[in-house]
């Protein structure tokens, strides 16, 4: 990666943060968005209370904390389209640097957002439902959460590469991805509850492995088990980064060839 590429990436990331700052003030973020996130995790933890099982309550709570992180990162689907709506795509295509770099960086603001939302939910809702946080193992939860979110950003970029082709479907794509994640990735029930084909889809997503790593830490499993799950999360994440790069590149090539950037 050249210095110039890194500079373009840096400016794109800053651009994304500016977008985020225009959406929320710290006050509206805390009273609006965070309230929703805390309620979402509480909603699912309460189902555990309805079932009368403390173990299930904690399972649902941890699963939905991580799902919140994935949900935020899936917003890449929408923010990628914002670039198209801003009318800047043709200019980016005409510039000497590759638009791919800009598109990969301009949504990075969702990563710290996802981290803050998920960590906030864990630290606020967790104690309310008596979630055990074994010391010092719990210290590993935050880096594992960050690794899961960064790996999931690769999948988010892939979603972005789909939504840029069909801008009207941007929210549809992210919502379906999020609810399917909540359904099959071990968020609310173990992955092996589902048939083999569904499990295969679940294990292709980094969030499934990242969540297993976090659950393993909280269950005080051995370091090798945690590392195995973490490695799988990073590997599948890397796979999605590669798929996203290919997908964006194909979009770029097709748009240049057919002149359909603003129409296709």
């Amino acid at each position: 990666m050249t210095v110039k590429t890194l500079q373009v990436l840096r400016y794109s990331i800053i651009n994304g943060f500016q977008d985020a700052a225009a959406m929320f003030t710290p006050k509206t973020y805390l009273t609006g968005w965070l309230l929703r996130v805390l309620s979402q995790v509480t909603f699912f933890a309460l189902i555990g209370s309805l079932l009368g099982s403390e173990e299930t309550t904690h399972f649902l709570l941890v699963g939905n904390v991580v799902a919140v992180g994935a949900m935020v990162v899936h917003s890449v689907s929408a923010s990628t389209v914002w670039e198209r709506w801003a009318g800047t795509l043709p200019l980016l295509f005409a510039a000497p640097s590759r638009p791919l770099i800009v598109l990969m960086g301009r949504s990075f603001n969702w990563v710290p957002d996802a981290m803050f939302s998920a960590t906030g939910a864990l630290l606020i809702v967790g104690p309310i439902f008596g979630l055990p946080m074994p010391w010092p193992e719990v210290l590993w939860v935050l880096p594992l959460l960050l690794a899961t979110i960064i790996a999931t950003y690769g999948f988010g970029l892939f979603l972005g590469s789909m939504s840029i082709r069909a801008p009207e479907s941007r929210n549809f794509i992210s919502r379906v991805a999020t609810t399917v994640t909540m359904a099959i990735c071990g968020v609310n029930v173990p992955v092996d509850f589902f048939p083999g084909a569904v499990q295969a889809v679940a294990y292709s997503l980094p969030v499934t492995h990242g969540l297993l790593a976090i659950r393993s830490v909280l269950d005080v499993s051995s370091a090798s088990v945690v590392l195995a799950h973490l490695s799988a999360a990073l590997l599948t994440g890397a796979g999605w980064y590669a798929v996203a790069i290919i997908s964006f590149s194909l979009f770029e090539a097709r748009s240049r060839t057919t002149g359909s950037l603003e129409f296709g």
């Binding site: 509206t28 309620s39 509480t42 209370s49």
Partner: protein
């Protein structure tokens, strides 16, 4: 009345052409899978009715509040609001017609949930008291339309309301007892939940599915309807005040 029906038809056509309007309807089966898998995994067949009703109520609330809330605001955005106000038809009839279109369409989620349970889990959810279920559903739909007018008024009055649009979901799913009955909430939250019509609707709909006799159904239906009427009145007041102000100042397109 013709304006009401025309607005209803227009809203249904509008929703057919924009995938965003169908978001919640599209994800209702996935939510059904989520809730049913939780209760099946926990081996709690007694909670299957909760799991099938919850996604339908979530869709009804989410879809109605989101789409209805934007009815006036998007008209203003597209520059349709001014000519609309210049017509002899009442804005309230039009807004109510469009909100009714949104709310009616979201009822599809009930069929989706039942169908998902049947096809994917082989579960047929029986309705033990179909009469009370139908009455509760009609009252819920009416109350939802009434409550949605508050959002239509709020969204057009203040930009801040839009920031909180996304936050109107899960706090109300908790307070509305859509999956977990509000009786299980702490006392302060249960008290608060009683002004949310959804909490009465969810309990009543669940009770109408169960074999046991439905307790005090008329009283509960009346509470749902009353809360819906209060919502509609509040929404009307918000819209009326806004219109009076902007007509006086000539600033309709600037609100």
């Amino acid at each position: 009345m013709s304006a009401f029906w025309a607005a209803l038809r227009f809203q249904l056509q509008l929703m057919r052409s924009n995938p965003d309007y169908l978001l919640d309807i599209a994800t209702a089966p996935v939510y059904t899978v989520i809730f049913l898998s939780i209760v099946k995994h926990a081996d709690r067949p007694d909670l299957i009715a909760h799991a099938v009703l919850a996604p339908a109520l979530i869709t009804l609330w989410w879809q109605s509040l989101m789409a209805s809330g934007e009815v006036i605001d998007t008209d203003r955005y597209y520059g349709v609001l001014e000519p609309l106000l210049a017509t002899p038809s009442s804005l309230h009839s039009i807004v109510l017609g469009r909100i009714a279109g949104v709310t009616l369409l979201s009822l599809v989620a009930f069929a989706e949930s039942w169908l998902t349970a049947r096809v994917l889990f082989g579960i047929t959810v029986q309705i033990s008291h179909p009469g009370w279920f139908a009455i509760a559903l009609i009252a819920t739909t009416a109350a939802m339309a009434g409550t949605s007018t508050i959002m239509a008024g709020l969204f057009v009055r203040t930009r801040t309301a839009r920031t909180f649009q996304n936050s109107l979901s899960y706090p109300f799913f908790v307070l509305g007892g859509v999956m977990v009955p509000v009786a299980l909430l702490p006392d302060w939250a249960e008290t608060l939940s009683r002004v949310v019509f959804l909490s009465w609707s969810a309990d009543l709909l669940r009770d109408s599915l169960a074999a046991a006799p439905v307790e005090n159904p008329i009283g509960r239906v009346m509470i749902v309807l009353t809360l819906g009427i209060v919502g509609a009145a509040l929404g009307k007041k918000l819209i009326d005040e806004l219109l009076e102000r902007v007509r006086g100042l000539g600033t309709l397109s600037q609100v």
